[in-house]
């Protein structure tokens, strides 16, 4: 009988082709409704996209691969969380003062993960190209997982320490938490292209190491296995997020020259907003970690000045330059953490975490890391505060502070060239005065005043009577802050008392 002809050998599709078939085939030009009705947010920002097919997928994951990798990470993570709880892992941190960094994280950062989830879910629907839609949808799931895993990881600490019991509620109401909250609301109320420039590029690519490394290394250096394990679990997600950030920038800049000035404006705005937000991290690094990793100044030099040089050198071929006021951030690096810590030291009676004076040994470190500023400007202030505390009159500032309308931080930043003078900037808009901590924040307001006249400024809201009452105690109750436990100095706090007790009992054998 006749032999059958040999079968044509099918050429195997490359990874890129397989992925394109899988994902691009899901998108189409709509005909029952016009495209601009199906995608109403895609052109109002002035960004021009001529060819969505030019989008290079920053990573190529199918859903089944995604679930597989993520499930693996979850299995490991929850095993460690359980072991941490069973072993009383909270007793192994360097010192209970460290937990205050976690209080700041859980109330200030974890809710942003949830906001990011919502933001990416939104833009994951509204991009015309299937490629960016899929990348954003996966990121939306990643960010929800980050919110969940952070809450689960840190919940153990809530059993033993104050200030961790109501992070969602506090995020929406407490004065210093309006800083991260307004940052993300600004991004989420922007269009899809600005959102990606703000979060994927500026936050998750340019500035990411200045958030992630301090908190995760801070955890590792201070015996916090729970947070360390979260960090490892999130690391590969963050790698994907970074590649998305880089891809969106290049895609926008390559699509049309007209996009360049718009993207530059967003890079300027979101560099400055992100930098101001990271002031909280600077204080965490220099003052709140019993075992420090490096100084804020060192971190800024490494992760922005050096890394940023290389990045913006690369982007210069598109006509993009370094962000406006980056030189101000460099000038401020020797002052930032000290100024921000002072803000919180002033207002600890109204904060849901403790502050304290640095010890003599810690001041030696600060002196060495900041030879031009610490001994001249900040050590004398700590000396005064230490004397006041010794007399039983620990310094608290009894009057609410002036807040910057854009970043919403108390205006405790000094002139770029003068560490002894507060930086005041202001403008008038439609007959009303607005004040800013810096040229950076002022420029952001002046470019989009209708956005920032809506700023929900905690101090003004308290004075309008919208925050539970006229007395500080009423406002703190409205915050769900436990008075006498969550607030005031670390010295004399219930956290400290418990910690000292546990440490003394560690190897004691009472009869």
């Amino acid at each position: 009988m006749n032999a059958m002809p040999p079968l044509q050998k099918q050429r195997k599709l490359s990874l890129k082709e397989r992925y394109a078939h899988l994902t691009r085939g899901l998108g189409w030009e709509t005909t029952y409704q016009p495209m601009d009705k199906v995608f109403p947010y895609i052109s109002y920002e002035g960004i021009k996209i001529h060819d969505w097919e030019a989008w290079e997928d920053p990573f190529r994951l199918t859903m089944d691969a995604y679930w597989k990798y993520q499930a693996e990470k979850e299995r490991k993570l929850y095993a460690v969380i359980e072991s941490f709880a069973q072993n009383n892992g909270h007793l192994n941190v360097t010192d209970a003062r460290y937990i205050n960094a976690l209080k700041l994280f859980l109330t200030g950062v974890s809710p942003l993960e949830y906001s990011a989830h919502r933001g990416y879910a939104h833009v994951g629907r509204h991009f015309v190209g299937a490629g960016p839609r899929i990348a954003c949808q996966m990121q939306a799931i990643d960010e929800l997982r980050h919110a969940q895993t952070q809450i689960h990881t840190m919940s153990h600490y809530n059993k033993f320490f104050d200030g961790l019991h109501d992070p969602r509620h506090m995020h929406d109401r407490v004065w210093y938490l309006s800083v991260p909250k307004s940052f993300f609301e600004d991004a989420c109320s922007a269009g899809p292209f600005e959102f990606l420039t703000a979060i994927s590029f500026s936050f998750e690519y340019v500035l990411t190491n200045l958030l992630f490394v301090p908190f995760m290394s801070g955890a590792a250096y201070n015996g916090d296995m729970a947070t360390v394990t979260f960090g490892f679990s999130a690391q590969s997600d963050e790698a994907r997020h970074m590649t998305l950030g880089l891809e969106i920038i290049k895609f926008l800049l390559e699509q049309d020259e007209a996009n360049v000035p718009i993207v530059q404006k967003w890079i300027d705005k979101w560099f400055w907003r992100g930098y101001r937000l990271l002031g909280l991290v600077s204080m965490m690094m220099d003052y709140m970690l019993p075992k420090r990793i490096m100084s804020w100044a060192e971190a800024w030099e490494m992760y922005f000045e050096q890394a940023g040089d290389a990045l913006f050198e690369d982007l210069s071929r598109y006509g993009i330059r370094k962000p406006k006021y980056h030189e101000v951030a460099s000038k401020e690096k020797h002052r930032l953490s000290h100024e921000v810590w002072s803000i919180f030291y002033n207002y600890t009676h109204a904060a849901a975490f403790h502050t304290w004076l640095p010890s003599e040994e810690e001041m030696k470190w600060l002196s060495a890391k900041y030879p031009d500023t610490f001994d001249k400007h900040y050590r004398p202030r700590f000396k005064c505060w230490s004397e006041m505390q010794a007399e039983g009159k620990r310094f608290y500032n009894g009057t609410l502070p002036q807040l910057c309308v854009t970043c919403q931080i108390p205006m405790g930043f000094t002139e770029p060239d003068d560490p002894t003078t507060i930086c005041f900037r202001s403008t008038e808009y439609k007959g009303e005065r607005y004040h800013f901590c810096s040229d950076g924040c002022k420029d952001i307001f002046c470019d989009e005043p209708e956005k920032y006249v809506q700023s929900w400024l905690p101090v003004h809201q308290i004075y309008q009577g919208n925050c539970g009452g006229a007395e500080v105690k009423d406002v703190l109750a409205w915050y769900h802050l436990n008075f006498g436990a969550d607030n005031f100095d670390y010295e004399g706090s219930p956290d400290q008392k418990l910690w000292d007790e546990w440490q003394s009992q560690k190897s004691a054998n009472p009869v």
Binding site: P40, Y41, Y44, E45, G46, G191, E339, S342, I343, Y345, N346, H377, Y378, P380, R381, C384, W385, K393, F395, N397, G398, T399, L400, P401, Q402, L403, P410, M411, G412, T414, P419, T420, T421, I422, F424, S426, K430, E432, R433, Y434, H435, C446, D447, E448, P449, E450, K451, V453, Q454, S455, W456, L457, V459, H460, Y463, Q464, G465
Partner: protein, 120 residues
């Protein structure tokens, strides 16, 4: 500059004066005394006499500082909303042109922080 938007994007200020129950917000800053980390914000009736501010309100804000008791108010220099200012002590805030969200900065010559260090 206007906000890029898909529709009308115009909002009333969230901090317009009528929301403060008859008060206006005034910001103060005691220069060269950065122990007080930032300017302070106070809700004040526009009809309040300036001297009442000095005698009754500001001591509660700054009185814990050792320099406060030594201030000679005749020597104090002021700036109101970025202009040099000489307060009329008998007149009200409004009559002194101190309006809603005005900023008052003041210097106490000879008193520049504990030990003469302005960050204290």
């Amino acid at each position: 500059m206007t906000v890029a938007a898909i529709g009308r994007y115009e909002f009333k200020s969230r901090d317009r004066v009528e929301l403060f129950h008859g008060n206006q917000i005034v910001y103060f800053h005691w220069e060269e005394h950065l122990m007080f980390c930032a300017g302070i914000a106070l809700p004040l009736p526009p009809s309040m006499p300036f001297k009442a501010l000095l005698a009754e309100v500001l001591p509660g804000c700054y009185g814990t500082h050792p320099d406060w008791a030594q201030i000679d108010w005749n020597k104090v220099t002021w700036m109101l909303d970025s202009r040099p200012f000489k307060p009329n002590l008998e007149a009200s805030l409004a009559e002194n042109h101190i309006g809603h969200k005005s900023l008052l900065r003041f210097w106490t010559p000879g008193l520049n922080g504990i030990g003469g260090i302005p960050t204290c």
